[in-house]
Amino acid sequence: RRPHSASLANKVFIQRDYSEGTVCKFQTKFPSELDSRIEKTLFEDTVKTLNNYYAEAEKIGGHSYLEGCLACITAYLIFLCMETRYEKVLKKISRYIQEQNEKIYAPRGLLITDPIERGMRVIEISIYEDRGSSGSSSGSSTTSSSGR
């Protein structure tokens, strides 16, 4: 939970990393706005874990073939009662983000938004300022070229 006297100061958007194609992967580059708020390693760990989850969801292998063939044979009606693997992993991701928020980010005045709520395009990190201190970082210094 964020402190009840905090106000939203800024938002940082972690962009997608397309270097390996269209698989869902986010850049691990540490944004400068978070420099004073959180340790670089913690941030990178979070993003890398999320990337691993997405890689697991999108992995093409025995399991996905089986799921695909089974679904096709039943004219995809099986999805009315069965959860797809991707959906299962998304639930895991949601729990992980909630846990990270509670343990690591909220105590530092930050909040991670689940990428699925932003079209899987960005990881939105909201930065909160204590109302006591003046909102100094209202105009964000933009990050230098978003990495390729």
Binding site: S7, L8, K11, V12, F13, R16, Y18, S19, E20, G21, T22, A57, E58, K59, I60, S64, Y65, E67, G68, C69, A71, C72, A75, Y76, L77, F79, T84, R85, Y86, E87, L90, N101, L111, I112, T113, D114, I116, E117, R118, G119, M120, R121, V122, E124, S126, S140, T142, T143, S144, S145, S146, R148
Partner: protein, 389 residues
Amino acid sequence: MSAVMISRKVTRKWEKLPGKNTFCCDGRVMMARQKGVFYLTLFLIVGTCALFFAFECPYLAVRLSAAIPVFAIVLFLFVMAMLLRTSFSDPGVLPRALPEEANFIEMEIEAANGSIQAGQRPPPRIRNVQINNQIVKLKYCYTCKIFRPPRASHCSICDNCVDRFDHHCPWVGNCVGKRNYRYFYLFTLSLSLLTIYIFTFDIVHVALRSMDSGFLNTLKETPGTVIEVLVCFFTLWSVVGLTGFHTYLISLNQTTNEDIKGSWSGKNRIQNPYSHKNIIKNCCEVLCGPTYPSVLDRRGLMSVEAPSSTSSPPTPDNAATKSNPATPNTKTTAPLIPNEHTPDEAKPGIGTPPQKTNGSIPKEGKPSSPRGASPKRSPAPIVVKESAH
């Protein structure tokens, strides 16, 4: 005493989604606006099969085997399931950027471009990414205010950016994109099989029955046969050709959109960075890949409080996402240029087809030309509409 009545009206997010889609069943079904051709498709398939079951099946079940109508029913149900799944599902629409994200991108663009002298045209909004050692350009979508992911494209009919956009198919009344491409392919494949099946057994039926009662009598007894044969004949050419075309695309891991624009062909163009260079792998990825979830939240709730004592209007645009507490209601104040078209890039490739195509005919040899009265499918069923944003 003031009686403050607060009426709480619950709206689901699909009611406020931008774009030109229509939604049914409280957001569960998502289609394009023009559905006329889709109804025609339904009518033709259901009608032809109904005639087949009415006229041919009783005779063939007795004369040859009961398995014939049974298999036809199974095939028909599969075709309908695939058609409805293609038509009703979210093709992979990318939601538009919320104001803060749009602002963030704007500021990044401004920082990257530096200062522009007055009177000079701003440079096109392109981002270069390296995918598998090839440079791919990501274009900025002025409508959705995002840089489109690779392989995504903006459908001007539905006014949405769609991931892995293949084409907008009026026959299914929806875009074909990442999430429903395999259903679309299975639909064309199974429809080809169904058409061949009905056509074959129509001929068999007429042949057998003619031996018993003569050719003209047969036609009089089962007039439906003539209609079925006509419909199947015209359908065969187009649907089988379409299936073949998409099989070719799948083996190369290409989309119709990329094929028509010639993204990966021509000497000066790059090779397809998404292809595994292996037909089996490409087929497996497209057809047996993971089932992607919809990122468009259609059935989420947006609760609207409308106190009748005050005159403040409700704020339906305030998306009540659970972890976004302070979404500002004002639209972005950054200097966004609405719906401006990017200047055309120089097209270095040879014989590059134009970007806007209508009624495109696939490059592969489709053995057809427009036929006479009431063809079930014209030879060019694909309408690729992409606005050159």
